[in-house]
Symmetry: C2
Subunit: 295 residues, 2 copies
């Protein structure tokens, strides 16, 4: 199998690679749990070679935390406002000349201070797939990004630690005793609405989930949905200036997109959902064409 | 050393015991890191006997998480509004008749759902030490409590998970890379004020601490003070109805009392600080006298 080039999405906890044909078709896909978080700089090349063993070597373009200071090699941030043409790319050191590896840098904002790494590539994917899109792109995840885009540029953005807070609260805090598997749509919707109505009450409302478990026997799945709803509602309150009255596109895992869609729909906003992997590949292809990165 | 009775404060992570004289004097003190969280029900008695070895056995009155469902024996919650007379006490099972152990139950609130366990005893201590106090008692800690008291009764209360969130964020989240030891008073004050002015922005402001570390080299001690300030500011916003225009007494560790004092002072409120251990002992003594718990 001889790809034209190889697209790589290398995050903190996992790595994905796609063998790309000249026409943009995906010829093969590989996945590894060797994320940036578990690799020393010299371990990236062997991990990548192991993933794409069986593919004829081809130029690699990678995005994500692989370009962080603790990654393979640091790829600098481009400051907003910026278009994909302005994204930095850095060649990673490799032991042989059979392939080259280029890493896409992130995007930064001076005030309020903020950074992204990986999401800029998915946003470039939206510019490629939907060149007419002006509005707001929301990328839900560990660190959810709300990004204002206009005329093919990233204008400004804001990050909320919603996914990481949910993981910490549901796995490592006192609330873990009250949270179980399962889900309750109406508990979620009510919590989003409560949080938007009085976002300042978040810290107190979170503990109430534990107390309701103790004294009213709150269902563990409802508790899970409620904590998620309180955090997403608080995030929507924090980012209201981004999404209110704007066209919104969601880029994330299907399940997360659907949770955010429902929360936004309750605010009267119909968001369109885009598939994260597709946007990553489309973004890497766009950056590759603009940067004329070749073997 | 022959105490009249033994006061015990048994929390999740530690246990303290005081040998009390008939006149209220502390004759001796013992401490153990065998908290409720690390003990099976049958392990409480040996742990207590080990702590007070050398003291002549005397009736024990204990408060705190020792009375939780996962503790030595469950001591029921008394619903608000309630005075210390209404606090439940439960005899713990012991292997010999040389002493008795009574455990004070917590206090619950149906709506908004909330619970306390241990704090009710410190509040009883305020009733004993300051019978004229009407207003709000704030007990900062892992789960900070704001408690409205009037005429010797607990009227209503609210818990914020501020201390637990701070520990999770500073030790287990992405922010740990930007947070170090040290402190910056002005960063703290500014963060409290920012959080009170726009509490809904919490989730986004937290991530900014990481971004400021990455792109502006934010000092690790200032980052620590800022995260603390953002969380305490959000808590003050959530509990504003409790403290605004009220006499406030703080019961906590000296350092934590001083952090909360400064945050409240910036809102024009002079809080008085009470020492947590003293209030615990005074509260246990009051409950003992009211309940006539004897060997």
């Amino acid at each position: 199998m001889t790809p034209d080039w190889i697209a790589v999405d290398w995050g903190t906890s996992a790595c994905r690679a796609w063998a790309m044909g000249a026409d943009g078709a995906v010829l093969a896909e590989a996945r590894s749990d060797k994320g940036m978080g578990s690799l020393a700089p010299e371990a990236f090349e062997p991990a990548l070679r192991e993933m794409i063993a069986g593919w004829t070597p081809a130029p690699v373009l990678a995005c994500g935390m692989v370009g962080a200071r603790q990654g393979w090699i640091e790829a600098p941030y481009a400051p907003v406002p910026c278009a994909p043409d302005a994204f930095e790319t850095v060649k990673a050191p490799v032991s042989d000349t059979d392939f080259t590896v280029s890493i896409v840098g992130g995007v930064s904002q001076a005030a309020p201070a903020d950074v992204m790494r990986g999401e800029e590539t998915q946003i470039a994917g939206v510019f490629a797939a939907r060149p007419d899109f002006d509005g707001v792109i929301c990328l839900p995840g560990t660190h959810t990004k709300w990004v204002q885009v206009s005329a093919g540029e990233i204008v400004s953005f804001r990050t909320a630690m919603t996914g990481e807070l949910f993981a910490l609260l549901s796995k490592s805090s006192t609330l873990r005793h009250s949270i179980g598997s399962g889900w309750d749509d109406s508990a979620f919707a009510e919590a989003v609405s409560d949080a938007l109505a009085r976002p300042e009450a978040l810290a107190a409302r979170l503990f109430s989930v534990r107390a309701e478990g103790l004294i009213h026997g709150l269902d563990p799945g409802a508790a899970r949905a409620r904590v998620s709803g309180l955090l997403i509602g608080a995030e929507l309150a924090a980012t209201r200036a981004y999404w209110i009255g704007q066209p919104v596109a969601l880029i994330g895992e299907t399940g997360l997109n659907s949770v955010y869609s429902r929360a936004l729909a309750a605010q009267g906003l119909i968001a369109e959902s885009l598939q994260a992997d597709e946007m990553t590949r489309a973004g890497l292809a766009l950056i590759r064409s603009r940067k004329e990165i070749h073997a």
